[in-house]
Symmetry: C2
């Protein structure tokens, strides 16, 4: 017999029951805390994530474009790469990216590990090669020892590098947003405007694509369903991966978690504000012209999706040695 249970006050039992029902009924689920993590890999991956020596210039790290002080993105329309090259696409946030069905806007990487190697070797981003990045790490005894400790192997290779970065990225989830607290039963966590916005978000159809734990990230959808999207960007999305004409302009639906922090919006970063993004989405995807009040209600809901940002000590990187190949920022 459960003695403790019998002592629960009636109103609490009612609340818990309502919460369970509410949770089951809602198309958005609270972010689950991180679990099943290899802590040693996380610590190594954190260093690598912040280490600009994985770039040719010695100046660009993963954190340059997926800045964890700024919602896991660079808040630029398109990113800055090696030699200040202008990137072709908006940097998606790394926050909650473990929840995505695939990585990159066009889904060309199956998972975080496959993604992590991309920018290092992309001439327009970090401008390096996997081999050169590995030889930098091999020249630094602290890294050699840490890889050995973490992977039980004397060799460093790009597979281990990206595995460690991906493991760190798995920790970058953002639980405890106001919306999640509301989902979990705290009726006061959402403002009345935010709640009205959520109802509108559901009834208008936004929820059809932006649902689940990440409020997106779990499907590819065409940008411009009702009306075509007048893009300046040449990016064509999923078709670049599948080769299918039917997949042209299909992009991975971005997560709306922390969307207040991940401006500007869309794969081309053309929408500078949430208001603009909601307006364009309403018209192009749903054939709906939201009124000013409707728009601001949805924006109020979206702002309730900002969760606890990853909190950790800035990593200290082991210094290069006399045998470390020096960076080449101006070649």
């Amino acid at each position: 017999m459960n003695f403790k249970r019998k002592k629960l006050p009636l109103f609490l039992i009612a609340t818990l029951a309502a919460t369970t029902t509410a949770l089951a009924a809602e198309p958005i689920q609270p972010i689950k805390p991180v679990h099943n993590i290899n802590l040693a890999q996380v610590e190594l991956g954190k260093k690598l994530y912040f280490d600009p020596r994985l770039s040719k210039s010695g100046f660009i790290s993963c954190n340059s474009c997926h800045n964890l002080s700024m919602g896991g993105t660079d808040n630029l329309k398109t990113s800055i790469g090696d030699h200040w090259q202008q990137g072709p696409i908006n940097a998606p946030t790394v926050l909650n990216s473990s929840l995505n069905l695939a990585q990159f806007w066009d889904g060309r990487a199956a998972d975080l590990k496959a993604q992590a190697g991309g920018p290092i070797a992309n001439p327009g981003e970090m401008g390096f090669s996997h081999q050169l990045a590995v030889s930098v790490l091999e020249s630094i005894p602290e890294y050699v020892i840490e890889f050995k400790q973490v992977f039980g192997s004397d060799t460093i290779d790009i597979d281990k590098v990206t595995a460690a970065i991906a493991e760190f990225e798995k920790t970058l989830v953002t639980p405890n947003s106001r919306f999640d607290r509301w989902l979990l039963g705290d009726a006061d966590a959402l403002t009345p405007t935010g709640l009205a916005g959520y109802e509108l978000f559901k009834s208008s159809g936004c929820i059809a694509c932006h649902n689940g734990e990440a409020v997106g990230g779990n499907s590819f959808q065409k940008m411009g369903v009702v009306e075509p999207y007048q893009a300046k960007s040449p990016a064509e999305g999923l078709s670049a991966v599948t080769g299918k004409d039917a997949d042209r302009f299909k992009f991975k639906v971005p997560t709306l978690r922390n969307v207040e922090m991940t401006y500007p919006y869309f794969h081309d970063g053309e929408a500078e504000t949430l208001t603009e993004a909601v307006d364009v989405m309403g018209r192009l995807q749903l054939g709906k012209q939201f009124s000013k009040e409707e728009n601001s209600r949805i924006v109020a809901f979206l702002k309730s999706l900002t969760g606890d940002q990853p909190s950790f000590l800035l990593p200290i990187l082991p210094p290069s040695t006399d045998s470390t190949p020096p960076p080449k920022p101006f070649d």
Copy 2:
């Protein structure tokens, strides 16, 4: 009557006495812990230090070139500025910079506060203006409130911005190096090679310029005393500030604290390794050709100067708002 004092074991009294004598006799003093700090200013300054919105591009922060993961510098020969411009000089470390007699290699800023405004408005560095930086901050309510809380004033101006950054920078000291522990009485903290290196550092004359708490940073000296320095860099040092011909090629003596992490060396970053830097300094400043063994002893001593690196949570920056002027990385 001091009861506790009477109870000190004799060997401890002897150790303390020896330590006091040793400390007084040594030309290098241990780094003192941070004191007399305005914590609220430090927290605000930390955010500003990491905020790339103080640059025109929205991509470069103080931490880009004075990277606190990497000894407070960028480990590049010369720095990368707005639009990937090549800087004219090596970025000096921000670590222990509060101990410098003046800031910049040529001492043109009297203190950290005067320094902090420089890069923001330098077209070759962050490429912004003080006025534009302030208007970005004014558009972000969290910053407005924090400035009000910290300075008790409704207005943000560059004076408060640089004061907060400087206050944060005052915390970036690195106590507890092996050498400091040795100075403080732990005879085992220095290796025999490191100790021999320190003796040689003193007897050879290095100590004449590299002394005090920061092991440098407290005088301007000519680069190339015995032999002229064949510089590729056009930087002429102190004379650019004083206008005096006698000050040509005089530079602020850099701190040697954490020098293992602050490569490459000299105002032009031309020395890639400590071995090379020690060799050049010996020949040009002291007329001494150190043998391989002597050089490596001095390097062993220099590596004992790496202290505890600043340890803090990566700051989370408040998001821009609809009224925040967007960055202009590609204009």
